[in-house]
C-alpha cells in the first residue's frame, strides 16, 4: 500500500469540500423543476399506496374523553381580519349561512341554527399538524355526506371545495402574513425565510400571528387570496368527515374556526379548513387559486395529506 503522509489531511479536506459542494448542489437540484417533479413521485406513491390500504370506511382512531388535550393549539389564522367575517362574529354568527353549490342538482343555504338541527356526529380524534405536533379534540357536526346527498351531486362531480372567510394575503407577494390554516410554516423555499415563525415547541408563537398584516386587505385593492381547501369524494363521503360547529362540547371558538370547520380525519391539519363559508362541488380545481387545490397546496404542499 502506498501511504501518503498527508493522507488524513487530504481526506479531511476532500470530504469537507465534497460536503459543501454536495449541499449547494442539492439545493440547486431541489430548485430545478424536473427534479421537484421527480421528488413529488414519492408523495404520489404515498397516496396510491394509502388509498389501496384504506377502505372508504376505515375510521381514524377515536379517543376517550380523558385523552382530550387541555389546550387545542389554534394554528394559522386565529382571528380572520376580514370585515364581513368580523361582522358575522360580532352577531354570534346569527346571520351566517353555509352555501352548498357547484355541480349539484339542488343547491341550498343553511343557517347555523338549521345546521345544528340536522343529525350530528360526535367524534374524539387526533389532529396532526404537518409541522409535527398533535392535539386531541372532541368535534360535533354535520356529516358532509348528508349535505352532499341532499344537494344531489351531478355525475361529473369529483372534488368538494371549501371556501373560507379568512384572507391569507392580498394577492401581492406575501409580506409577513404567511400564517395559514393549520400551519404557520412559511410557504415553500421561494418565500422570504425571515417570515418563518420558527422558535420552538412552546407557546411562544401562539400569538405571533401575522394576520394583522392583512388587516382590511379586501379594501386595499388586488385580489385577496382566501383560504381554501379541496378533498375528493372518497374523503367527502367518509363517515368521519363532518362540518364541526362544536369543539369539546362548546361552540367552536373563533381561534379554532368558528362557526364551522371541516374535520376530514385521516388527513393532516392543513386539510381541516376553518371558517368554512361555501362548499362548491367541482369536476376540477384547476381554475381555483394557483390550481393546486388549496391555499397550502399552492405554496407547494402535497394535495394528498394522509402522511
Amino acid at each position: 500500500m502506498i501511504r501518503l503522509p498527508s493522507r488524513r489531511a487530504l481526506l479531511t479536506g476532500a470530504s469537507a469540500a465534497a460536503a459543501a459542494a454536495m449541499l449547494g448542489g442539492c439545493d440547486r437540484l431541489g430548485n430545478a423543476e424536473w427534479f421537484q417533479r421527480t421528488l413529488k413521485t414519492g408523495e404520489d406513491a404515498n397516496m396510491f399506496v394509502q388509498r389501496l390500504l384504506l377502505t372508504d370506511r376505515t375510521l381514524a382512531p377515536e379517543y376517550a374523553e380523558a385523552d382530550i388535550s387541555p389546550w387545542f393549539k389554534p394554528n394559522g389564522t386565529e382571528d380572520p381580519p376580514d370585515r364581513d367575517y368580523k361582522a358575522l362574529a360580532r352577531a354570534k354568527f346569527a346571520k351566517y349561512h353555509l352555501e352548498v353549490g357547484g355541480l349539484v342538482e339542488a343547491p341550498f343555504r343553511l343557517s347555523l341554527a338549521e345546521l345544528r338541527k340536522l343529525p350530528a356526529r360526535t367524534q374524539i380524534t387526533r389532529h396532526d399538524c404537518v409541522e409535527g405536533w398533535s392535539a386531541i379534540g372532541k368535534w360535533t357536526g354535520v356529516p358532509l355526506a348528508d349535505l352532499l346527498s341532499r344537494a344531489k351531486l351531478k355525475p361529473q362531480a369529483r372534488y368538494v371545495v371549501f371556501h373560507c372567510a379568512d384572507t391569507m394575503d392580498q394577492g401581492s407577494p406575501l409580506e409577513g402574513g404567511g400564517d395559514g390554516e393549520e400551519t404557520d410554516e412559511a410557504p415553500a423555499g421561494n418565500a422570504n425565510p425571515s417570515m418563518t415563525k420558527q422558535s420552538g415547541g412552546d407557546e411562544s408563537r401562539k400569538d405571533s400571528g401575522g394576520q394583522q398584516a392583512s388587516e382590511d386587505s379586501a379594501a386595499s385593492g388586488g385580489a385577496p387570496v382566501r383560504y381554501y381547501e379541496s378533498i375528493d369524494l372518497v374523503d367527502a363521503f367518509h363517515p368521519q368527515t363532518i362540518l364541526a360547529y362544536d369543539m369539546n362540547g362548546q361552540a367552536l371558538p373563533v381561534s379554532n374556526g368558528a362557526p364551522l370547520r371541516l374535520r376530514v380525519e385521516r388527513n393532516l391539519g392543513y386539510k381541516q379548513a376553518k371558517y368554512v363559508m361555501r362548499i362548491e362541488v367541482v369536476e376540477s380545481f384547476a381554475h381555483l387559486g394557483e390550481g393546486k387545490g388549496g391555499y397550502w397546496e399552492d405554496q407547494g404542499y402535497a394535495w394528498y395529506a394522509g402522511i
Binding site: L39, T41, E43, Q50, V130, W133, A135
Partner: protein, 272 residues
C-alpha cells in the same frame, strides 16, 4: 478474495445516499416544530426536548432536555444561515435539506428517498436471503459467540483480524449488523409510518406499538441518532483498518487478505 457481490455493493451505496438524504431532510422536517414529546399528543408546556431561541440581541439558541436548559447558540435553536444572518432554527442550515427553512421541500425529499430506501432494502434482503449472503454475513458462528469477550478486547485495542479470520465479519460486526438490519431500520420505518394519520387508520396497532403518535415521532428521532452513531463508527473503522482496501472491496468487490503476521501491527491490512 472476492468479497462483495454486485448486488451488495450497489445496495450499499444506494443505502448510503438514502440514509444521508433521509437524515438531512428529516432534520428539516423536525425544524418545523423542534420539540419532542411522549404519548398521543404534544404537551406543549412540558416537552421531552425542545430547541428555541431567546429574545436577546443577538438571540441565543437554547436546547432543553428533560427540563434542563443548555446554551447551544450557533448549533441548535439559533444559528447563522446561508445568508449570514442568525436565524431561529432547530438544526443549523448546513445540516438540513434544503438548507433554508422549507418544510414542504424537506417532505418531498424525505418521502422520495424513503421509498428508495425501502425498495433498496427489500432488494438487499431478497438477494441476501436467496444467496445465503445474509446468513454468512450476520449470523455469528457458535465459535464466534464462544470467543465474544476476546473479540471485544481486540476491537477495543483496534487490532483487526487477519488471515482466515478476516474473511468473514467478526462477532461484534455481525451482532451490530443484526441489530441495525432487523431492529433499528424496521423500527425506524414503522415509527415513520405511525406518524401518518392515514396509516394510523389502516393499522391502529402502530399507535399501540409506540404508545402514541408523539412517542413515535420521538422514537423516529432517537433511532435516527442511533443510526448516525452506527455510521460514524462504521466510517471510523473503515478509515482505521486500511481505507483503500475497504473502498476497493465495496467498489469492485475485490479485497486483499494479507497473510497473518506476528506480532499484529496496529494498522494491519484488513477490513472493517
Amino acid at each position: 478474495m472476492f468479497r462483495h457481490p454486485l448486488v451488495i455493493r450497489v445496495t450499499h451505496w444506494v443505502n448510503a445516499v438514502c440514509l444521508l438524504v433521509l437524515l438531512m431532510s428529516g432534520l428539516q422536517i423536525f425544524n418545523a416544530h423542534p420539540a419532542l414529546y411522549w404519548g398521543k399528543v404534544s404537551t406543549f408546556d412540558a416537552p421531552l426536548m425542545a430547541m428555541s431561541s431567546t429574545e436577546d440581541d443577538p438571540p441565543k439558541g437554547m436546547t432543553t432536555v428533560f427540563g434542563h436548559g443548555f446554551d447551544t447558540t450557533g448549533w441548535l435553536g439559533s444559528s447563522v444561515g446561508s445568508d449570514g444572518e442568525a436565524a431561529d432554527r432547530g438544526f443549523p442550515a448546513w445540516a438540513t435539506l434544503p438548507s433554508d427553512q422549507d418544510l414542504t421541500g424537506g417532505r418531498s425529499w424525505h418521502f422520495f428517498f424513503a421509498w428508495a430506501f425501502v425498495l433498496n432494502g427489500f432488494a438487499y434482503l431478497l438477494y441476501g436471503l436467496g444467496s445465503g449472503q445474509l446468513r454468512f454475513r450476520v449470523i455469528p458462528s457458535r465459535d464466534q459467540i464462544r470467543h465474544f469477550g476476546a473479540s471485544v478486547w481486540e476491537h477495543l485495542t483496534l487490532r483487526f483480524p487477519q488471515g482466515d479470520e478476516a474473511k468473514c465479519y467478526n462477532v461484534i460486526q455481525k451482532l451490530t449488523y443484526l441489530v441495525v438490519l432487523f431492529v433499528l431500520l424496521p423500527v425506524q420505518v414503522l415509527a415513520g409510518l405511525a406518524m401518518s394519520p392515514a396509516m394510523d387508520a389502516a393499522f391502529p396497532f402502530l399507535l399501540t406499538l409506540f404508545d402514541g403518535r408523539q412517542s413515535a415521532r420521538t422514537v423516529h428521532f432517537v433511532v435516527a441518532a442511533l443510526l448516525v452513531l452506527f455510521v460514524v463508527v462504521h466510517v471510523a473503522l473503515v478509515l482505521l483498518s486500511d481505507f483503500w482496501n475497504n473502498m476497493r472491496g465495496m467498489l469492485t468487490g475485490w479485497f486483499v487478505i494479507e497473510r497473518k503476521v506476528e506480532p499484529a501491527p496496529v494498522t494491519g491490512e484488513t477490513r472493517a
